[in-house]
Assembly symmetry: C2
Homo-oligomer: 583 residues x 2
Amino acid sequence: MSSPLNDIQFILHDVLDYRSHYAALGLDNTVDRDLLNMIMDEAHKFASSELQPINAAGDAGCTLQDGQVTTPPGFKEAYRKYIEGGWAGLCGEPRFGGQGMPETFGFLLEEICCTANMAWTMYPGLSRGCIAALAEHGSEEQKARFLPKLLTGEWTGTMCLTEPHAGSDVGLARTRAETAADGSYRISGTKIFISAGEHDMSDNIVHLVLARTPDAPAGTRGISMFVVPKFNDDGSRNALACGNIEEKMGIHGNATCELVFDQAVGHLVGEENKGMRYMFTMMNAARLAVGLQGISVAQAAFNRASEYAGERLQMRSLSGPKLPDQPADPILCHPDVRRLLLTQRAIIEGGRALVYYVAQLVEITSHTTDEQQQQQAQLQLDFLTPIAKALLTELGFESANHAVQVFGGHGFIRETGVEQFVRDLRITLLYEGTTGIQALDLVGRKMLGNQGAGLQAFGQMMLAVADECDADFAEFAGTLRQLHQDWGEISMNIGAKAMQDPEEVGAASVDYLFYSGYAVLAVFWAKIALAGARHDNAEYGSSKVDIARFYFARMLPRAEAHRQALESGAANLMQVNGLAFSA
Amino acid sequence: MSSPLNDIQFILHDVLDYRSHYAALGLDNTVDRDLLNMIMDEAHKFASSELQPINAAGDAGCTLQDGQVTTPPGFKEAYRKYIEGGWAGLCGEPRFGGQGMPETFGFLLEEICCTANMAWTMYPGLSRGCIAALAEHGSEEQKARFLPKLLTGEWTGTMCLTEPHAGSDVGLARTRAETAADGSYRISGTKIFISAGEHDMSDNIVHLVLARTPDAPAGTRGISMFVVPKFNDDGSRNALACGNIEEKMGIHGNATCELVFDQAVGHLVGEENKGMRYMFTMMNAARLAVGLQGISVAQAAFNRASEYAGERLQMRSLSGPKLPDQPADPILCHPDVRRLLLTQRAIIEGGRALVYYVAQLVEITSHTTDEQQQQQAQLQLDFLTPIAKALLTELGFESANHAVQVFGGHGFIRETGVEQFVRDLRITLLYEGTTGIQALDLVGRKMLGNQGAGLQAFGQMMLAVADECDADFAEFAGTLRQLHQDWGEISMNIGAKAMQDPEEVGAASVDYLFYSGYAVLAVFWAKIALAGARHDNAEYGSSKVDIARFYFARMLPRAEAHRQALESGAANLMQVNGLAFSA
């Protein structure tokens, strides 16, 4: 009911050919199609039976009393089943008790759970980030101490970055870390917006905290990472407390905590002053996961809207009654309702292909032995990550809003259950870096910062897809080649302008991100059309070709609007009378 | 603080020249600039001191107990002050106790109150619709009985259209009206989504109810309108009850009621079976008012975002530190934050000019004695009403979301107070006819239905504005002339296609509405630029010219995307494998 396993499998196997992908990486001995499908089936069963039924009630939120957070009814029990099922360690290192599955398995699990219940899925989601950072940067002792319990799921993790005056600008963080006699540190400061920062689901919570040592340089170069568990090794309570949980627009089932550290015992991860770099290894995976949240929740909203559109009878079709015996026709017969549904589908499935493709890049960077291939994959991964994060959250939010629109006035009513998806999704455009931050990262670091190498690497794939389209989808082929050329020119122009005026980077950034995003989705919709055309089930395959045609005809034209906007330059933003910005 | 009176006055006096407008209608003896400004000042004082302070707390919602609805703290008291101030009768007929002000005064009052508190403003807002319908279609006896109390505000009104199975398709309504011996009727049925349907703010509530008499023909041709007061003339309680109030996404302070009529005493308004036509006289004014809600609430969100952008320090400007003594620069220095703020401003002020222009058309249609002028104004009014409703709610929602985005993660927190605007606004895209319904009305009835006469009438104004732009804004002039030509061609093409296939109307509808909407805003931004350039306060005027340039450069290109989408035709929506619509 919740996640469309056939659509997921279609993207994995028919569009992205995971079998060849794993064979090329030498992973085909450990993972194969059957294992992938079996794990998905099990994840789907778990999510449908345990997570989806508690999603709406979870909207009532968590409560805080005497420093203890109580999660909504059923959340704790569902988590117990999750760890009993061994899900927490799915992609963990076997030597610490993990099951060693490649990264895609983790993304699939996250998607399937998130479609059922986003707020709940954030609890184990935060743990995965914590596990990744410790596995990559922790000492052997730290790994041995924390990873086994995190991989069973008995303990959960968090990321503690934000402070009241330090949001996008993490370098402003003031939390202090003082050295103690035993070589550990004492952490003091206040962190806010800590998702899953305190709750009743696990025995311990492992916080990764960014803080400054006494002599640290100012800004991001003086940030270090510390691991600060809620309970110390000897079982004593560490000196940190949840001071508040936020009232929010959505994801009420996940506790968003203010954490106050008051001389809490912390342990330095890696080297001093390298915390920002370590945090970014977590952050990149987290950004991709947030992009995935965008389309996962959009899928849940689409499921409801498509069902309703087939059942709700209102008005007659413009071309004459479709159900003459009924008082009206199903609203699915109305062209604009179909447009709303196809827009959702184009976003969700194009976005899914993008995320899984990026997941393949993640797997290549971590498993290949071919240095050249590694480098090319890394370039694409860096380039596509901010696009996937920002585009799929913005479009996921749009998609869920379209689902509400299909319901008409009923969509505004809480009982209908579809407006919750809009409220839940709104955070995805903000956390792990707003759309604006992603766009600066894309244009500044990932495009101009390496002279367009990331775009070039992806562009090669784009042209290869265009070639494949020549036979049966000539119009897609032509469009992709034109896009490829324009995209390159637009990028060069931004670079040229930025040499004159650095504000041109920011002025072009978000429109460039959207332009790029629509171009990227065009590539994946062309790939989907190719896979649809050769699919064994002709009816199923042709439905995908139809959505691809819809995408090229009705959504891709948005790219041109973004192009014109970004090419208009910085003057219409920067040389503006200040009164225009004051109420 | 809440409503920008100078911006409102700028549009009224400098852009739309209300003095000449009222002089041409012979109204300049009763209303002048000073009176208009004085009433606005007073409305602003009332809204700032009484409505804005109770807006956030009102988000906690209404309660229903034993059939009684209790509104949020302060709502009742604010309403008492509203009626003491004589606001309820501002535009009412003097012979029933109203103050006889022209319609614009009512829109201004509604805008100013709505910026302060949308949920509260809906209570008197519904009354205005009820007053308009009774004034136009009620018998003298009904007017004498209901209007005086509605115009003092002692009583409030509602519109009861929707039933569980009859939303957009009002013709499916089943509520019955049986004749009684005394010539009155007995009304039975269930109405849902009745805003302000039950509350504790007034002595009586006057419901206008759509129902079917026993022999009425099926569909919309068999709908009659009845006036059904909560309390009968003799003070006895009428047989209707509030069965439920809805839990919603927003506008919690307004009670959205299910009303159950069980042989309630009702009185026929006008003639039998003409209820739909009568309802549309209310509906058109209501649609314009909803469009106004879109930008009014967007204004409230902009006020917060612009203030925050000037205060919040995060990251350094790309062109070097702006406040070197501070740890970071205000986020207002970042190009994308400026883009977000200017987008809001372009939506709000362009939208405001559109609404006031339509308000002028309303006044012309009701006050002119020149038949030709009356007809031309009516054509434009009909054409622009669905555009104003749909465009300004869609863009108002976008605008409020941009305000949240300016706040970053803090925007998602309820305490910040800006996410409420997004939730409140979401309903405006749905009620009084969804965006899809407005678009069908526009393309089917208002454009094709009269062979483009409405577009032609507005097009004349458009070309006149282009001529005015030739001297100082040649680029706007050229763009407007091109848009004028394209718009005509696009409209003709839809007509030609629709002759072959009626589905083409629905397939083009929403994109045509957006295309038209961006063209309409271009006209008003050109007018604003002209008024800005000749403004006494050069700094103020130039800020408006800057926003106009922003609109043409960065927002108007969206029109082209909608054009391409709509020109792609119906096939990519209608000839689609059904699997594309099922989860």
